[in-house]
C-alpha cells in the first residue's frame, strides 16, 4: 500500500508498505529517518517516541497505515519544531500549546550539516541534554527528547515528580536517570530565565 504523511513539516510518501509495517519501520527504513530508535518494538521502552498530530506515541505500536494523512515530528525535526514554537511565543501568536502546534505544522525542516554536528541549531532540551551529561550511549535520547520537549510545552515548570511521571515510559540503561533529571530541570530553568529577561 501507499502511505502519505507529513514528517517534520515535509510531505512524505512511502510505496509498497506491508500491512504489518509500523510507523517506526516506515520512518527508519523507507523515509531515511533512523533517528527514532528500535529498542523493543513492543511499546515498552519509548525509544521510538514521536509526536503524531502533536501527541507523543510509541511509533513502533502505530501501524504505518494509521499515520495516513497525519503529522509526525521526529527527533530529526525537533530543533526546528522548537524554533517555530519559540518564534510564535515571542511574536505573541501563540495562545496555547495547540496554537504552536498549528504553527509547527506549517514549517519545513531546513538542511543541516550532519557530519560533525557543528553549527547545528538545537532545541533547548537538546542542548540541555548535552550540557547536563544526560547522553551516554544515546540510544534512549531521541525518544526522551521528544517526550521531555512535549512535557515542557504544557508544563514549563515541572516538579521532579512531574518529570519522572512524564518520562516513565522511556527506559535508559546507561545513566541511572539522574542526569536526565538534571537536563530537564536545566531546560526548564533556562526557559523561565529566558521568559523573565
Amino acid at each position: 500500500m501507499r502511505v502519505n504523511l507529513t514528517v517534520n513539516g515535509r510531505p512524505q510518501q512511502a510505496d509498497d508498505v506491508w500491512e504489518g509495517e509500523s510507523l517506526l519501520y516506515v520512518l527508519r527504513e523507507r523515509m531515511g529517518l533512523p533517528g527514532s530508535k528500535n529498542a523493543c518494538e513492543q511499546g515498552e521502552c519509548g525509544s521510538c517516541t514521536v509526536r503524531l498530530d502533536g501527541v507523543p506515541v510509541c511509533s513502533c505500536l502505530v501501524a504505518a497505515g494509521q499515520a495516513e494523512g497525519r503529522e509526525v515530528v521526529t527527533v530529526e525535526g525537533l530543533a526546528e519544531f522548537a524554533r517555530r514554537r519559540a518564534g510564535d511565543t515571542a511574536s505573541g501568536v501563540r495562545g496555547g500549546a495547540d496554537a504552536s502546534l498549528d504553527a509547527a505544522r506549517r514549517w519545513q525542516a531546513g538542511g543541516t550539516d550532519s557530519q560533525t554536528g557543528e553549527n547545528i541549531e538545537l532545541a533547548p532540551v537538546q542542548q540541555a541534554f548535552i550540557d547536563a551529561g544526560a547522553v551516554q550511549c544515546g540510544f534512549c535520547t531521541p525518544g526522551l527528547l521528544v517526550a521531555a520537549d512535549e512535557m515542557l510545552e504544557h508544563n514549563p515548570d515541572p516538579t521532579d515528580e512531574d518529570i519522572r511521571e512524564a518520562l516513565s515510559g522511556n527506559l535508559c540503561r546507561c545513566t541511572g536517570y539522574e542526569k536526565i533529571m538534571d537536563a530537564v530541570r536545566l531546560a526548564a530553568a533556562r526557559r523561565s530565565e529566558g521568559a523573565t529577561t
Binding site: 527527533v75 554536528g117 547522553v135 550511549c137 544515546g138 540510544f139 541511572g176
Partner: protein
C-alpha cells in the same frame, strides 16, 4: 556505493583548555541529540538484504533433521545456510574456549541456540522463511544445576573436552574451578567467638543495553568483507570471525558502528559471523538486527550464583576467617566463565582484612542460557553475599554494621586472599564514613499540603498506599572490583596519534580501535591529547581494525589502558616535535637546549612559561605520527591449587547507603535514595565519572528489586524474554543518587586514575537488600527481592 551510516571522525575544538580534569562535553553529543548518530541498527546499503537467525525452541536436543526446502523456495529469499554450509573446518568460536558452534551441529545445548540463517529482501520475508525451516529435535536429558551437572550419570554438555581447564576440573561439566587457600581457616575458626553461616542465591541478570545487536556486512570485490558492527572489542571479534570465513584477517575489515550500550553483553560474538557468511554467500550486503525477544537469546547474561559463606569473628569485632563456596551457572558455552570464576574467587572476601580463608569458586556447564561478562564480572555476586554476611556478623556481635566494617576494612598494604598486596590507596573506611555522613532524605517525604503524593510511595501511581503500612530502612555496603584484565593476560592497547598544521592551526588526530559504547571514552581521549600536546582541536577517528587492538571496553579498563596508550603516544609525538623544533629553531633561543619544554596553547613553552615558538612554525608541513602499543604492569596467573598470585592490576572501591521504604502489607519497595562514595584516583572527566557511578548504581538497584531472567527449572527455557516481563528500572523506580567522589591517586596508573565503571554496580545491590532487611526484619537471602518474599507468600 558506500554504506550509509558509516562513522565519520568526531572533531571537537575547545575554547577552554579542555584537558583532563575538566567536564568537557561529548564530541558525539550533538549527533546523538539530533538523531544523526548512526547506530549499527541504522546502517543501510543499497541492494541490502536482511538476515534472520532461526533459533532452537528447546534447550537440549539432538537435531534429527533440518529441512530448508520450503524456506529456500520462498520468493524474496536469497540464501539459507546451516552447519553443513559453513565454508571451512573452523566452525566454532569463543572468547577463551572455542566451544560455541557458529550454527548448531547435530545438537542444541540451550534454548535459543542458532540453527540456521536466512537472507531475504525484506525483514518480514526473512522471518517467515526462517519459520518455514523444519527442524526435528529429539530431546535429551537436561543439566540445570550443580546436582544434575555432577551426578554420576550426568549427561556431558561438552564431550571430549581438551581446553586448558579440562585437566584440572573435578568434572567435565565444570568449566573451571579456582580454590584459594591462605592461612589456616580451621585453626582460625577455633578462635572465633561467633560463627555465622549463610546460603544465598543471585538471579540471572540481563545487560539489557537498549541498542539491539546489529551489524551490516558488505562483501568486497577482493573476496573479503567489510563489517560495520556494534561490539566491545573489534580485534577479539576479528580473531574469531576470520578463520570461520576462511579469510585472512586483513580481508575482514571491521569498523565500529554506533553502539547503544554494552555492559559486557557485546564481549561475545552475536550476529557477526552470520551476517558475513550471508554476505559472502549472496554477494550482497546483509544487515541483521535483533529484536528485543531475540536479544534476550542473542547474548550471554550475568551468571546466576549459589553462594555458601561462613564468617567468624572475635568479640571485639575482628574477622577470624572466611570460608566460602561460589557456584556460578555458566550455561551451555564457556564464554567468559573461567575469568568470572577467577574474579569471584579472588574478590570473595571483599575489601576486608582476613588472613585465614578457604575459598572455592566454580562455573558449571549446563543447558541454561550461556552466561559471561556483565558489569562487575563475578565480583557482583560475591559482594551481594559477603555484605549480607557482614551485617549478620555485626548483628550477632551487637555492633553497628558500619563500625564492624570499619574495624575490618582493608587499607593500602593489606594482603588479598591471593597473597597480593594492595599497593595503592584503599580508602574503604573513608568511603563508608563519607556515605554515612551524607544528609538523610527527609522522613515522610511523600506528604504535601494536598495529601500524599503517591508517586513517592511504594506502588507509585498504582495508588496502593497513602503511607499506611510503610516502613523505612537504611542499609550500607562496600565492594572491591579489579580493574583491567587479570591472571597474566597480555592486556595492551594501541594508539596512533598525529600532529600537523592544518590551515594555520595545529590539529591532533587520535586513532584507536577503542569501542565507544556510551561510556565517554571519546571525550576523555580528546582531553588527554589536549593535555599532552597543548592543542585545542582534536579529531577522534572512527574505531576500526586498520589500527592495532585497543583491547576490550570492559573491566573498567579503557581510560586506564587506551587512555594510557594515547598518553604514551602523545608523549612520543611531543618528543619528536621538540626535536624538530630544536633542529629548526634551537639557535634562536638558548632555552631550546636547557629548559624543560612543554606544549601549551598551540605553542612550545618553557616550564617557566616563556613562549619559544608556535607549533605551526615548528611543524610547517611536517606530519608527526606515532603508533605504539602500551601495557600496564604485568599480572600473573593464580596457582590452580592455592589461588596464590599477583593476579590483578588495580582495585577499585565504592560504598553505598540505601534508604528504602517498604509497604509491608503488599511487599512493595520504593528506594528513596541511593548514595554512593567512590574513589576514582583522578576524575579525568568529572561529569562522565558521575554518570558512570549513577548508571552502575541503578543497574545494581535493578538486580536488587526487579531484574531477573527466569529460566524454567523443568524445561530450561527462558520464560520472560521481553521488556514486558523482564523489568528494568524506570525513572519512577529510580531515586535521587547523590555521589561523593574521592580522588586518591594510584601512582601506578596514568594520571593516578582508577577504573570507574564497575565498582558502583557491586555495592548498590547489597545496600538495597540491607535496607529492606532493616525495614522488614526479614533475612532475605536471594536477589532480586520480589513482593512474595516480603509478604511470606513465596
Amino acid at each position: 556505493m558506500t554504506a550509509i551510516g558509516a562513522p565519520t571522525g568526531l572533531t571537537q575544538g575547545s575554547r577552554t583548555k579542555g584537558g583532563i580534569g575538566e567536564s568537557t562535553l561529548r564530541p558525539d553529543g550533538v549527533l546523538k541529540v539530533t538523531g544523526e548518530f548512526a547506530y549499527a541498527s541504522d546502517m543501510w546499503h543499497e541492494d541490502m538484504l536482511w538476515g534472520q537467525i532461526l533459533r532452537s525452541t528447546v534447550a537440549h536436543a539432538e537435531i534429527v533433521s533440518i529441512d530448508t526446502g520450503e524456506a529456500l523456495a520462498t520468493p524474496g529469499v536469497y540464501a539459507v545456510m546451516t552447519y553443513d554450509d559453513l565454508p571451512t573446518d573452523v566452525r566454532h568460536y569463543g572468547l577463551e574456549i572455542r566451544d560455541t558452534p557458529v550454527l548448531a551441529h547435530g545438537r542444541v545445548r540451550h534454548h535459543g541456540e542458532p540453527v540456521a540463517i536466512v537472507a531475504a529482501d525484506h525483514p518480514e520475508t526473512a522471518r517467515r522463511a526462517a519459520a518455514r525451516i523444519k527442524v526435528e529435535y529429539r530431546e535429551l536429558p537436561l543439566v540445570t544445576d550443580e546436582a544434575t551437572a555432577t551426578a554420576p550419570d550426568a549427561v556431558l554438555v561438552h564431550e571430549n573436552r581438551s581446553d586448558h581447564h579440562s585437566g584440572h576440573v573435578p568434572h567435565p561439566n565444570i568449566v573451571h574451578r579456582q580454590p584459594i587457600v591462605r592461612g589456616d581457616a580451621d585453626a582460625a575458626a577455633g578462635r572465633a567467638d561467633v560463627i555465622v553461616e549463610g546460603d544465598y542465591y543471585f538471579g540471572m541478570q540481563d545487560q539489557a543495553f537498549l541498542g539491539p545487536e546489529s551489524g551490516l556486512a558488505v562483501p568486497g570485490e577482493d573476496g573479503g568483507v567489510d563489517l560495520y558492527i556494534a561490539t566491545q572489542w573489534l580485534h577479539s571479534d576479528l580473531r574469531q570471525i576470520a578463520p570461520v570465513l576462511g579469510l585472512p584477517e586483513d580481508k575482514v575489515r571491521m569498523t565500529l558502528s554506533g553502539v547503544g550500550g554494552a555492559f559486557g553483553g557485546r564481549e561475545d560474538l552475536s550476529m557477526q559471523i552470520h551476517a558475513c557468511l550471508l554476505a559472502l554467500r549472496t554477494g550482497k550486503p546483509v544487515k541483521i538486527v535483533y529484536n528485543r525477544f531475540e536479544s534476550f537469546f542473542g547474548h550471554v547474561h550475568r551468571h546466576p550464583a549459589r553462594l555458601h559463606y561462613e564468617h567468624g569473628a572475635t568479640r571485639d569485632g575482628r574477622l577470624t576467617h572466611v570460608r566460602c563456596r561460589i557456584v556460578l551457572d555458566g550455561g551451555a558455552y564457556a564464554s567468559a566463565s573461567p575469568a568470572v570464576v577467577g574474579n569471584a574467587a579472588s574478590l570473595s572476601v571483599g575489601p576486608y582484612v582476613c588472613e585465614d580463608v578457604d575459598i572455592e569458586a566454580l562455573a558449571l556447564y549446563s543447558n541454561n542460557p550461556p552466561c559471561g561478562a556483565m558489569r562487575g564480572f563475578g565480583a557482583v555476586q560475591a559482594c551481594f553475599a559477603y555484605e549480607a554476611q557482614m551485617d549478620k556478623v555485626a548483628a550477632e556481635l551487637g555492633l553497628d554494621p558500619v563500625e564492624f566494617r570499619r574495624i575490618n576494612a582493608m587499607e593500602q598494604g593489606t594482603l588479598m586472599p591471593t597473597g597480593q598486596p594492595v599497593d595503592s590507596p584503599a580508602p574503604v573506611a573513608e568511603l563508608l564514613r563519607r556515605v554515612k555522613a551524607m544528609p538523610m532524605p527527609p522522613e515522610r517525604q511523600w506528604e504535601s499540603s494536598e495529601g500524599a503524593d503517591v508517586r513517592q510511595l511504594p506502588g507509585g501511581l498504582s495508588n496502593t498506599t497513602h503511607g499506611e503500612g510503610v516502613v523505612r530502612g537504611v542499609g550500607y555496603a562496600v565492594g572491591i572490583k579489579n580493574v583491567g584484565f587479570s591472571e597474566g593476560f597480555d592486556d595492551y592497547s594501541t594508539a596512533r596519534v598525529r600532529l600537523e598544521a592544518v590551515g594555520g592551526r595545529p590539529v591532533v588526530t587520535v586513532h584507536t580501535a577503542m569501542a565507544e559504547v556510551g561510556q565517554g571514552g571519546v571525550t576523555v581521549h580528546a582531553q588527554i591529547a589536549r593535555t599532552e600536546l597543548g592543542v585545542a582541536e582534536v579529531t577522534i577517528r572512527p574505531a576500526d581494525t586498520r589500527v592495532g587492538s585497543a583491547g576490550s571496553t570492559s573491566a573498567s579498563r579503557q581510560t586506564y589502558v587506551t587512555g594510557g596508550a594515547i598518553k604514551n603516544a602523545c608523549e612520543l609525538v611531543r618528543e619528536r616535535v621538540l626535536e624538530t623544533g630544536r633542529r629548526k629553531l634551537g639557535s634562536h633561543h638558548p632555552a631550546w637546549a636547557t629548559a624543560e619544554l612543554l606544549l601549551e596553547g598551540g605553542k612550545v613553552v618553557t616550564d617557566g612559561g616563556e613562549v619559544l615558538a608556535d607549533l605551526v612554525d615548528v611543524l610547517e608541513d611536517e606530519v608527526v605520527e606515532v603508533e605504539e602499543e602500551w601495557r600496564h604492569r604485568p599480572t600473573e596467573p593464580f596457582d590452580p591449587r592455592t589461588g596464590q598470585g599477583d593476579g590483578h592490576v588495580q582495585y577499585s572501591f565504592a560504598a553505598h547507603r540505601a534508604v528504602v521504604e517498604v509497604d509491608t502489607e503488599l511487599g512493595l519497595v520504593k528506594v528513596i535514595e541511593l548514595a554512593c562514595a567512590q574513589d576514582v584516583g583522578k576524575a579525568l572527566n568529572p561529569l562522565s565519572v558521575i554518570g558512570q557511578i549513577q548508571g552502575g548504581t541503578v543497574q545494581g538497584l535493578g538486580i536488587a528489586v526487579m531484574e531477573e531472567i527466569v529460566v524454567d527449572p523443568v524445561t530450561a527455557k527462558v520464560r520472560n524474554p521481553s521488556f514486558t516481563d523482564y523489568l528494568l528500572p524506570t525513572i519512577l523506580d529510580t531515586p535521587a543518587l547523590p555521589v561523593d567522589v574521592l580522588e586518591l591517586a594510584d601512582d601506578h596508573a596514568p594520571y593516578g586514575l582508577r577504573g570507574v565503571g564497575e565498582a558502583p554496580t557491586l555495592s548498590s545491590t547489597p545496600a538495597v537488600l540491607a535496607a529492606i532487611r532493616d525495614a522488614t526484619g526479614l533475612a532475605l537471602d536471594r536477589t532480586p527481592v520480589r513482593p512474595e518474599h516480603l509478604t511470606g507468600t513465596a
